[in-house]
């Protein structure tokens, strides 16, 4: 891609690096460049905020940001095919930012929760929450962390792999 970065730098409070493009898309990277997310429809600030919202909704210390980035990727794809979703996401982030007069990602943890709580019944919130569940928890790299083992038929099921291996039950 050949485009001029219009904004570049550490996003304060998130430890991420963002590069926005005049074309409207953006690239977000881990500070150590271990992973990167590129969007086409949503701008850098919206993308960065949505990534932090996804983690705020379902925070797991064991999961790196790249798993939450997959939620933003999915939302960006929705926004790319439907301008109404793009507006919903951009406006929703705007509403979060205006809650306290400081951009939402720079609020304290408690204040972020409070701002999210205040929009809990909005279509924006439902869209982001549903996308987070469906993209974070349906990711095999994530669900294996939590003990859901996914497809089993190719391993012959669990008939010889511990379907009844429970060991802690009392004998009476």
């Amino acid at each position: 891609m050949k485009a001029k970065p219009s904004r570049r730098g550490f996003l304060r409070g998130t430890g991420l690096v963002a590069m926005g493009f005049a074309t409207g898309g953006t690239i977000i990277c881990a500070a150590d460049y271990a992973w990167a997310l590129s969007t086409t429809a949503i701008d850098a600030h919206t993308a960065e905020t949505l990534l932090v919202v996804a983690r705020q909704l379902f925070p797991h210390d064991r999961l790196g940001d790249q798993y939450y980035a997959s939620v933003v990727d999915a939302l960006d794809k929705q926004a790319a095919s439907d301008p109404a979703v793009r507006k919903l996401l951009t406006d929703g982030v705007g509403r979060l930012d205006s809650a306290r007069g400081i951009v939402w990602v720079q609020l304290s943890n408690r204040a972020r929760d409070a701002a999210l709580k205040s929009v809990e019944n909005s279509e924006f919130f439902t869209t982001v929450r549903t996308a987070t569940i469906n993209n974070l928890y349906a990711n095999p790299l994530v669900y294996r962390f939590f003990g859901f083992e996914g497809s089993s038929v190719e391993h012959g099921g669990y008939i010889h792999r511990g379907f009844d291996d429970i060991g802690w039950l009392p004998s009476s």
Partner: protein, 519 residues
């Protein structure tokens, strides 16, 4: 050996739907020498289309044409049923329980209950018992006919240990139409999990790979997938003469018929009858009683999840892996009529658990709950709900589907008896897990309805219901109701075995009537 029939061939029986009712009826009729055309709205899949992925299979199997739910129902997805050859037998969990004697005579056993439209069935348990036995043999139900029960998985072992501490007596791995040994050309269960996404090895009975190919092998059967019936036609005498259906391109055809059997599940069956209104039948076919689309039943349901002191991996193995039957009796001292079963149920993957455990929840505390996924145990509560005239299916006044057929509006509100039973069941389920030191217990509201019954009910008298004890419409002798719609009441038990038993009995009756030239 499958055959094709001409559209104008009016010697065939048309069966609408290929699930537990329609698939079984089709096979039973063809085995008795009757020619059958089965029209199925959904596509035909094979075992290789079945993968262990809840989301993929939900999209591949489910009936997702628009329906509107009102009252207590999920507005966008009131039902969780299938649109595919094999119908909801591709998705079902396999629990195969007989109704109890009193559940066929609920008006007599329960008395008059305010707000409930109770009626005794025109058939008794005793009359149905031989057909239950044949259904169990056909389906290979464990714990019947000398077929051993399935081994219990972790989720069952937790439930059974808790049940023992609470003092329940009748606890076992159920009566399941899942092979515990190779049988009928199908393998024994490999404890794969994902039963409700379709059994990838065919160990679970489904008409998709049992009744339907058996019917085809008679040379008297044609199944037409992706064929959505929109209307049933009749003549001046009020006998049905054929059906109009849309093929996969949307083109309409009329298949002539000697008799028509409707088995589209309890929303589509009344929807079709209502949409077949005519000057002779202005309120829809078979509806002189006004009961078509009424008395919709979905079972009292609820789910209990618990975080246990140790690892469970509740998604390993058969999903409905066992049952507590002690609460299934009718015992009004508990504060409600009828009873309920307690059956193991895991989550539907991590995304399913996150969605369902506390609907709408989020935040750090809820994330900690989800992190305990492998310590979850779970059970489903399923019991008798009471028929109410106002619960049911109507046609939308203006909105139509892709075939120009009005979309269905499904309404259901719990009767106070249903609520009292659910609250009792939540407490009972919670007690089972707390007896083993569960750290947290969650009471989940009903999922979209999987058990759908009652919208074209059987009755002794024509004024009280839609069909007689053979499922034959009171108003139209060559029109049959062949699915759970014909249930007069719901019982506490999962409905499939009763649907199959009634289909076997109906096939015997219909074949006999046809051979005597009665229609």
């Amino acid at each position: 050996m499958s055959k094709t029939f001409e559209l104008k061939d009016d010697s065939v029986v048309v069966v609408i739907g290929s699930g537990a009712g329609g698939g079984t009826l089709s096979n039973e009729l063809t085995q008795r020498g009757v020619n059958v055309v089965c029209l199925e709205a959904g596509p035909r899949l094979t075992l290789s289309d079945i993968v262990n992925d809840n989301g993929t299979m939900f999209g591949r199997l489910s009936w997702l044409d628009k329906r509107i739910g009102t009252g207590d129902l999920n507005p966008g997805l009131p039902l969780w049923v299938c649109k595919t050859v094999g119908g909801t037998t591709v998705h079902w969990a396999g629990a195969s329980l007989r109704f109890q004697d009193h559940e066929f005579r609920v008006r007599t056993a329960y008395g008059e209950i305010l707000g409930a439209n109770l009626l005794d069935w025109p058939i008794t348990l005793q009359e149905l018992e031989p057909y239950y036995a044949r259904a169990e043999d056909k389906m290979g139900v464990t714990g019947t006919h000398g077929i051993s029960r399935l081994p219990g998985n972790n989720n069952f072992k937790v439930m059974a240990a808790g049940a023992k501490r609470v003092g329940y007596k009748e606890v076992h791995t159920g009566n399941m139409a899942i092979n515990s040994e190779d049988r009928d050309g199908r393998p024994a269960c490999h404890q794969i999990g994902f039963c409700m996404s379709g059994c990838a090895i065919g160990a679970k009975w489904s008409t998709l790979y049992t009744e339907i190919p058996k019917a085809e092998s008679t040379g008297r059967f044609e199944i037409r997938p992706e064929s959505m019936v929109v209307k049933i036609n009749h003549d001046d005498r009020g006998r049905v003469t054929g059906v109009v259906y849309a093929d996969k391109t949307g083109a309409l055809h009329e298949q002539k018929a000697r008799a028509v059997c409707v088995a589209g599940n309890s929303v589509e069956t009344p929807r079709l009858l209502l949409n077949s209104e005519s000057s002779k039948f202005p309120n829809g076919l078979a509806n002189s009683s006004g009961q078509v689309g009424r008395n919709y039943l979905r079972h009292m349901t609820g789910t209990v999840y618990a975080i246990m002191p140790g690892r469970v991996n509740f998604d390993r193995g058969t999903q409905m892996a066992g049952i507590i039957k002690d609460e299934s009796r009718h015992d009004p001292s508990r504060g409600f009529a009828g009873g309920y079963e307690m059956e193991t149920l895991p989550g539907f993957g991590l995304a399913g658990v996150a969605t369902n455990t506390i609907p709408g929840a989020w935040g750090a505390e809820y994330a900690k709950v989800i992190e305990m996924y492998d310590h979850f145990a779970g059970m489903w509560l399923v019991g008798e709900d009471l028929p109410q005239a106002s619960n049911g299916v109507i046609l939308h006044a203006t909105e139509k589907d892709q075939h120009g057929m009005p979309i269905p509006v499904v309404h259901f509100k719990d009767h106070p008896n249903d609520i009292a039973m659910r609250n009792h069941a939540y407490k009972a389920g919670t007690a089972v897990y707390q007896a083993l030191g569960a750290s947290q217990v969650f009471e989940l509201p009903p999922f979209p309805n999987t058990h759908n019954m009652g919208t074209c009910r059987q009755s002794e008298k024509a004024r009280d219901g839609v069909c007689n004890k053979y499922g034959q419409a009171h108003d139209i002798p060559n029109l049959f109701i062949s699915d759970g719609s014909q249930f007069t009441s719901g019982g506490a038990e999962n409905p499939t075995l009763t649907i199959v038993a009634l289909a076997i009995r109906q096939a015997e009756y219909l074949a006999d009537q046809l051979s005597k030239k009665e229609m």
